[in-house]
Symmetry: C2
Subunit: 394 residues, 2 copies
């Protein structure tokens, strides 16, 4: 059990934290209200002109912000206004999945300038994966003629438990990795700062910034595929919890007498819906190698396949309800292989949710959506994460 | 389904919100770092001296902050320092439960100066409950000789779904209330500003401010009794979600084929553990009127009672796991009738959690605790909520 550090002053009162918050506030103001003057920033935030000038200076030096002259309509005087430098600052987003590596260059608005996908062998070593990433990065920079000094850093998103503060993969069942110092190793190979996070957390961030959840204050994203998980974005920030494990719904217990889960417990949610569990059940009837074959059997009205998928859809609707009850988000985004590759189930899930499984007082409290960024979400979110992290490194 | 208001600028960039945040920042600094000078506040926060002076002026006028002279050790000059006025500002906390009403006067540190408890008849009208509260308040003010102008406002905590922004009880199964304008009515009767919230949310706040969760950054409080629910405090603030329903775990679905819940769904978590559900099951065997009788039967090793409570404890441990997986808190506080009146189950719950139901990667990530404030938690938390709300009204 963990010991609580009692009496420690809260993060909120910490001076470094205040400086950091002030910098982010100024950055966000310039991003959203540009063109804007230093005086106007001071007025809107209550900060002193000295503080504003210091922060704007830092942002200008880092290449985020540019000055330009604006003729004031009233007096004909020139005023110095501030705006973001747009795509003068870029970052690289990388998604590492079991079967593929995606890499893209992304601007401050989350727009993808260029991207590449590379096939990945599930059993390949960490070295192999990292050297593939380095090669993809070099090729991209060269083929696009990018100024590599404009790249703020690299963000990596992958399935599993990630220690985002130290840039370590604690454990990834899908990749077969445990305690991999990925940020440090990739930084050593490329020279760039590297941020690492769980794929669903960055995917949710991307959908919040420029996807299905733009304008949402509390976004919950659910992923159904080789794993089951969720992520919560509160007012634009990833909610991580104590050990970056918030949202690990795959191991919420549904039935203490249920099937064994790979984690050693019985009846975890994921035993009802992840790809490997569905295929394991299907293979009790006959040889089935892929989800596509399972859905083919269902389309042919093979009763076992109909029932197996019906049960999975039931548990997807239950998951939507359970996440609503705990997070009470304004939007729920469904994502993952099961949702994205088999759109035929969407209407059924919606019917199960709104007619049956969602608790009545919450039925009007949210909007059910699907990812707008599709397969690019993790890559974009990872790149945005890198921008935020680099930004905070000063 | 809800429509998302796209493109709306985030709360963070809102000027009123900035002013509010700045005021809270200054207040918190004075509270935690007093004695502190205006210049030091400006330096620590990056705010302009004008902003600091305006906020300190407001806080002084509202009676939260006082000035005093301090001889500076270095120069012998007198410096004007700021500190909180301590118990010069008070608030009233009220807990309305099915069978009792508690009312107390609480200072800015959450200390209870005086409190009263009144028996409540479950079927009594809203009018009756409100007039009891008014009478208790008058008696308290008179008997203690309190200056009523020092009372910042009233906070009310109760079980159910509460629209905290409008001060309305949307629905309370335990009280039998639906759409009750409690803040407005109590304000009309007393003249004080009134804040209303769900009992578990304010209880968690109280435990965070001066109870078992002092120093915690992410506190999850669970309540097991006439209802089942949870509350999450993130960095000192109640996490409410879109409609103040975050944490309503009682209606998370555990088993789609389970027992019917009063909400109209089958297999909700609460059907396994709330008092009425346990008594309903017990009465299938023999007449049992109270939890005490059920536990008596268990102590006498009546097999049905042993099994019924064993199942309940299993689902309590499952709840701890499920809340850990979604919120990833640093502390989990167990509370409610079942936990507080039957401490004999605590060790069993801990064993079930740590040996069996808590997902292995999270076992060392949190501390399992019990409420430190006991029955006073809701009252204290409601009073603290009123202080915060009053504070934000300017």
């Amino acid at each position: 059990m963990k010991k609580i550090n009692r009496g420690v002053s809260m993060k909120k009162h910490d001076q470094d934290f205040m400086r950091q918050q002030n910098k982010i506030t100024v950055y966000e103001l310039i991003k959203n209200d540009s063109p804007i003057s230093r005086a106007s920033i001071a007025k809107k935030t209550g900060m002193s002109p000295t503080t504003v000038s210091r922060i704007v200076g830092e942002l200008t030096n880092q290449g985020y912000v540019a000055e330009f002259e604006q003729i004031s309509s009233g007096l004909g005087r020139k005023a110095t206004m501030l705006g973001l430098k747009g795509n003068s600052v870029l970052s690289v987003g990388v998604e590492i999945d079991k079967h593929r590596i995606s890499l893209g260059v992304v601007d401050v608005n989350g727009a993808v300038m260029v991207s590449k996908v590379h096939h990945r062998i599930p059993e390949e070593s960490v070295e192999m994966t990292l050297s593939t990433i380095v090669r993809m990065l070099q090729e991209t920079v060269e083929s696009e003629g990018l100024d590599s000094s404009r790249i703020a850093g690299i963000g990596v998103g992958l399935p599993g438990i990630v220690d985002n503060e130290n840039g370590q993969v604690v454990f990834s069942v899908q990749l077969g990795w445990r305690n991999v110092d990925i940020a440090q190793r990739l930084k050593a190979l490329t020279g760039y700062e590297v941020a690492v996070d769980n794929e669903l957390k960055v995917k949710a961030l991307a959908e919040h910034v420029r996807g299905a959840a733009a304008g949402s204050k509390r976004t919950a994203l659910l992923g159904f595929g080789t794993g089951v998980g969720s992520a919560l974005i509160i007012e634009g920030e990833i909610y991580r919890g104590e050990s970056n494990s918030a949202g690990e719904i795959g191991h919420t217990t549904i039935d203490p007498n249920g099937a064994m889960c790979e984690c050693g417990k019985a009846g975890c949610l994921q035993t009802y819906i992840i790809t490997s569990a569905l295929l394991l059940e299907a293979n009790k009837i006959r040889k089935v190698d892929t989800l596509e074959e399972l859905f083919e059997a269902r389309r042919s009205k093979e009763m076992w396949a109909v029932q197996l998928i019906e049960r999975a859809l039931t548990y997807i609707a239950i998951t939507v309800n359970n996440v609503l009850c705990v997070y009470n988000p304004d939007i729920v985004i469904l994502s993952g292989e099961l949702i994205e590759n088999f759109p035929e189930i969407r209407q059924e899930i919606e019917d199960l949710c709104f007619n049956r499984f969602v608790w009545e007082p919450l039925r009007d409290s949210f909007s059910l959506q699907y990812t707008a960024l599709g397969e690019d979400g993790v890559m974009i979110g990872s790149a945005l994460l890198a921008q935020t992290r680099f930004f905070s490194l000063e």
